[in-house]
């Protein structure tokens, strides 16, 4: 409970701080941006379309692999706590688990998913 209150407090504090930076009125020029000021920075060039688009993230396959691989963390945290108590058995178990998942990474690498598609 204290954790949640602290976290909420921290977020509120930073939000107030950033809004305060913007609204403190220290600038004599705090007006809204004009249309030419709003143009995106391209070194003087002008774009034909909005930048928001169906953006081709070249590493999309990697992210899918990552989501599956990262799930293993959920099992690893509780494992870490009892590792010393369980000893060698725990090491073997987790070694096997990681070995299984590493096969997935190797497969992905062989298929070339860590390159820009």
């Amino acid at each position: 409970m204290e954790t949640i209150l602290t976290l909420a407090g921290i977020f509120a504090l930073t939000l107030v701080f950033v809004v305060g930076l913007r609204a403190a009125g220290w600038s004599d020029f705090a007006g809204p941006s004009t249309a030419p000021q709003q143009r995106p920075v391209l070194g003087g060039g002008d774009p034909q379309t909005h930048a928001w688009q169906r953006f081709h993230a070249r590493y999309y396959t990697m992210t899918l692999l990552f989501v599956a691989f990262e799930m293993e963390m959920m099992f690893m945290y509780p494992w870490a706590v009892i590792y010393v108590a369980e000893g060698g058995k725990a090491l073997a178990e987790m070694g096997m688990f990681l070995a299984i998942l590493s096969v997935g990474i190797l497969y992905g690498w062989r298929e070339g998913i860590f390159k820009w598609e």
């Binding site: 143009r39 003087g44 002008d46 379309t49 688009q53 070249r58």
Partner: protein
């Protein structure tokens, strides 16, 4: 308006300067980042002073206007060794032999204290195209992708040369005032994600040497070494050692940007740092920018662009598609552009 404590404090800051390189810019413009009172910034959004160094050809004046308006207020423009530009009546002229640091600091203080009005916009305050129109929300067209919401159309799908997943493409003129672009060069690039799909040379680079090693080091994320490389010590052993240590050579993929003479970005980088003997001159052959850049990811493409020596780059640009060589494409390109702007 006036001097509050905060403006007084701000007036003592390093002056953030954005440099717009023109033709025949003074050699000192390249080493300005070594000036103790100035900080040369990457983006106009962070600058207070726009420094136009050298003469600006007419073709680049519209680009200069757009750049000028992108600076936040308070702002001012200095013309350094440049003939007056009629559309910039407020700009302050600085001669070749004046102390540029002094001149910039004076203008900066004057603007900040309110003694000098912040430079007004040049371009009219209107969205890039009319957009109150047909749609129920005034987006100017029917459907989800139609019209010109907020004054610009939305990107449309295009074929992808790399993995054939046809997503949206983004076309824009990049440069000439990007800090890592060779001075004067404007490229109309079509990007899909961060991969370049199409290159058109809209304006060739100036006949101007630039500082390719510093730019390359900056691109490799080594700004401090870049500044050091601009120093007056011709053969700096510490610099060479630090570059070696940084793994810059390893950071450049081998075989990137290969020219007919067999040199790639890595060997050209070696020549610049003095790790390899200087070749007499690069031979561009009939290489085009299309050959060099298309299919590359942004960072790699910029490394290729900045590794070329200026004369070679100009040759390559002459070989390349300049927008009007290919009649139909150039036309549709520019008309499409005009269509959106009108």
């Amino acid at each position: 308006m006036g001097m509050t404590w905060i403006t007084r404090l701000a007036a003592g800051a390093r002056v953030p300067v954005f440099i717009a390189m023109g033709d025949g810019a003074p050699a000192a413009a390249l080493t300005l980042s070594r000036h103790p009172g100035l900080s040369v910034v990457d983006t106009p959004r962070a600058a207070s002073i726009l420094l136009v160094a050298g003469q600006m050809p007419d073709a680049l004046i519209p680009y200069l206007h757009r750049l000028h308006d992108q600076l936040p207020h308070p702002r001012a423009t200095l013309l350094w060794q440049s003939p007056p530009i009629p559309s910039l009546p407020d700009a302050i002229a600085v001669d070749a032999d004046d102390d540029i640091g002094r001149a910039v600091a004076d203008v900066f203080a004057a603007v900040l204290e309110g003694k000098r009005a912040s430079a007004p916009d040049i371009l009219p305050d209107a969205p890039p195209s009319e957009w109150r129109g047909v749609g129920p929300h005034g987006q100017g067209g029917k459907g989800m992708m139609g019209g010109t919401p907020y004054g610009r159309p939305m990107a449309m799908t295009d074929d992808d040369i790399r993995d054939r997943l046809a997503l949206d493409s983004y076309t824009a003129a990049f440069g000439p005032f990007l800090p890592f672009f060779p001075p004067g060069l404007v490229l109309t690039l079509t990007l899909q994600g961060d991969v370049i799909q199409k290159v058109v040379v809209t304006h060739p680079p100036f006949d101007h040497d630039g500082s390719p090693l510093a730019t390359l080091l900056n691109l490799l994320g080594l700004p401090a070494l870049a500044t050091r490389s601009l120093g007056d010590r011709a053969d700096d052993p510490v610099l060479r050692r630090l570059i070696q240590l940084s793994g810059a050579r390893f950071a450049i993929p081998s075989g990137l940007g290969r020219l007919p003479d067999g040199s790639d970005v890595r060997t050209r980088f070696d020549r610049m740092t003095g790790a390899a003997p200087d070749a007499a001159s690069q031979d561009a052959g009939d290489t085009t920018l299309e050959h060099l850049l298309v299919g590359l990811e942004w960072h790699a493409a910029m490394l290729v662009l900045c590794s070329l020596d200026p004369a070679t780059l100009r040759d390559i640009c002459k070989n390349s598609d300049t927008g009007d060589q290919d009649e139909t494409q150039g036309e549709s390109e520019s008309e499409m552009h005009a269509g959106h702007m009108s």
